[in-house]
């Protein structure tokens, strides 16, 4: 897409390492009605519908973000609420289309966000089996990993209950355990650990480091600076859809905290 060579996203310091995700001048714009109704095709053509025209708003969620993620990177993403973190993660996962710019990636990432269970009417056990099969495991491979997944999620007592009966923390734990069954090339964790308790947080942070050390790439969106310091080798700071800083975790977090305290 970009023919403009000036904002080269490949940092020279990283020469020699294999790029996994290239985010190239990405813009994301949403058009929404203030009422929350989805615009129909006709509404998009004629933006000045009576009464609605004024309420139609364009939200510019990302304004030209560029960076490159490499193998063995674990990238913390920080920023205030509404700064575009989740939008960026969804765009990398291909769930939100870019308005301008492009993203290149090695494989389709898995995105772990807060919220819904995978298949809420099915038991935890069956979610593990189906999640594993969906990711391309054979039934034997799933059986071999099953006990580990259950133990990791700490759900031995509840694994036969339907997922709709789980608490949000339990849901997040099981989803994380299922998604990390595969040694992912790219894993995006969007505040999914925030609802977990301390034991689980430590366990999952250890798992993230493990993925990173096995040539994977992890994105971690979090408001817990401690989690980010413990797991990330690099931090990106977003503010109002713009990339403010990209670099060493300590430096970026200090600059971010300073800006917050102002």
């Amino acid at each position: 897409m970009s023919t403009d060579p000036s904002p080269t996203p490949v940092a020279p310091a990283a020469a020699g390492r294999k790029p996994v995700v290239i985010v190239d001048d990405v813009h994301v714009e949403y058009k929404v009605f203030a009422t929350g109704k989805r615009p129909t095709a006709a509404d998009r053509r004629t933006l000045k519908l009576r009464g609605r025209g004024k309420q139609m708003r364009t939200v510019h969620a990302l304004k030209g973000v560029s960076f490159t993620a490499f193998q063995n990177d674990s990238i913390g993403v920080i920023g205030t609420n509404g700064s575009g973190k989740s939008t960026l993660m969804r765009t990398i996962a291909g769930l939100t289309p870019t308005s301008r710019g492009a993203i290149y990636s090695q494989s389709r990432p898995s995105l772990l966000g807060v919220g819904a269970a995978l298949l809420k009417d099915l038991s935890g056990e069956r979610n593990i089996i189906l999640g594993g099969l969906a990711m391309g495991f054979s039934i034997e491979e799933i059986e071999a990993r099953y006990d580990d997944v259950v133990a990791f999620a700490g759900l031995e007592k509840y694994i036969d209950l339907p997922m709709r009966a789980y608490s949000s923390g339990m849901t997040a734990r099981l989803k994380f355990a299922i998604a990390t069954m595969a040694t992912h090339e790219i894993l995006i964790v969007d505040e999914a650990l925030a609802v977990g308790d301390r034991t689980f947080r430590q366990r999952s942070e250890a798992r993230i480091r493990e993925i990173r050390d096995n040539a994977g790439t992890v994105f971690l969106v979090s408001h817990s600076m401690k989690s980010i310091m413990d797991t990330c080798s690099r931090v990106i700071w977003l503010d109002q859809g713009t990339l403010i800083m990209d670099g060493d975790p300590l430096e970026v977090i200090q600059a971010y905290n300073k800006a917050q305290d102002k």
Partner: protein
């Protein structure tokens, strides 16, 4: 050098692109176990909360047949009623139920599983296929009921019955194709989910589930009760010859029942096969064309 060239050199692909159709199909084939397990687990969970449990798989079609049998067998007149009416009706209701349920469930397969689609990376085609498989697994016990009923009411068991095996396999593929097309359309236009029950109901009343199109609209010679005879509506009969659901239903009835009006129409086999090939091939292509679109929030 542009970023796109950089990316290509590093072996990266553009996010929002899709795999080649060939790779995509082989990925879906690798997920066949997923498709089958998902279908089975969903059936079990559907019934878990009912006290009668899995018994509903059999009870539901029976009640359906009973209601339609009462309404169309007793309340509504005998005009256009074919021989073996009860068997005719049961086969019609059961086979049509499989079609209608596959269509609505398949259409909702992507929109109803958004959490799964947004979290894990897998070929989305597995979901509509799993939905149709689920309906097919529910259809099998009703076929058994159908056959038991036929034997119990004194219909002779014969080798023709075996024809329902290739027939229902063909029908399964046809329904998969239709589900794939509808699943994509529902992603573009969610409101379609609300229309589907009306569309299937339209087919239910026009396909000849509880009356025979041929004897209702076909020509009848003069008889003592009807001295002028009836010229019929030949165009309507010709039209239904090309209607796939009518073809599948007619073949099923011809395979299972004997007597006048139940001769096997071999051109129906040709038409039904052609419909299946066209709908399924188009469905696979059509669904794949929007693979990157599923699960998107925009």
């Amino acid at each position: 050098m542009t970023t796109a060239e950089d990316a290509a050199r590093a072996g990266l692909i553009k996010v929002g692109g899709r795999p080649s159709l060939r790779n995509y199909i082989s990925e879906v084939w690798r997920r066949r176990r997923f498709i089958y397990s998902m279908a089975r687990f969903k059936i079990e969970s559907e019934n878990q909360q009912n006290s009668l449990g899995m018994f509903w798989v059999i009870l539901k079609p029976l009640l359906n047949a009973l209601v339609y049998g009462a309404v169309f067998g007793i309340l509504i007149g005998t005009d256009g009623r074919p021989p073996h009416f009860v068997e005719f009706l049961i086969i019609g209701v059961f086979v049509f139920e499989f079609f209608a349920q596959s269509w609505t469930a398949g259409g909702r397969a992507i929109t109803n599983n958004s959490a799964l689609v947004q979290s894990l990376a897998f070929p989305r085609m597995a979901l509509p296929l799993a939905a149709v498989t689920q309906q097919f697994l529910k259809f099998l016990p009703t076929v058994a009921i159908m056959l038991v009923y036929l034997v119990a009411t004194g219909n002779a068991v014969d080798a023709y019955w075996l024809l329902i095996i290739p027939l229902f396999a063909l029908f399964f593929v046809f329904n998969c194709g239709l589900a794939l097309i509808t699943a994509r359309l529902c992603v573009h236009w969610r409101d379609l989910n609300n229309f589907l029950p009306f569309v299937t109901r339209f087919f239910f009343y026009t396909t000849g589930i509880f009356f025979s199109i041929e004897s209702r609209f076909g020509p009848r010679p003069p008889s003592p009760s009807d001295p002028n005879g009836y010229a019929g509506q030949p165009w309507l009969v010709t039209l239904t010859d090309y209607q796939p659901i009518h073809e599948f239903l007619s073949i099923a009835r011809s395979a299972l029942l004997q007597g006048p009006g139940y001769g096997m129409n071999n051109t129906y086999w040709v038409y039904a096969t052609l419909w299946t090939i066209v709908i399924f091939t188009f469905g696979v292509w059509f669904f794949w064309r929007a693979e990157e679109r599923y699960g998107r929030v925009d």
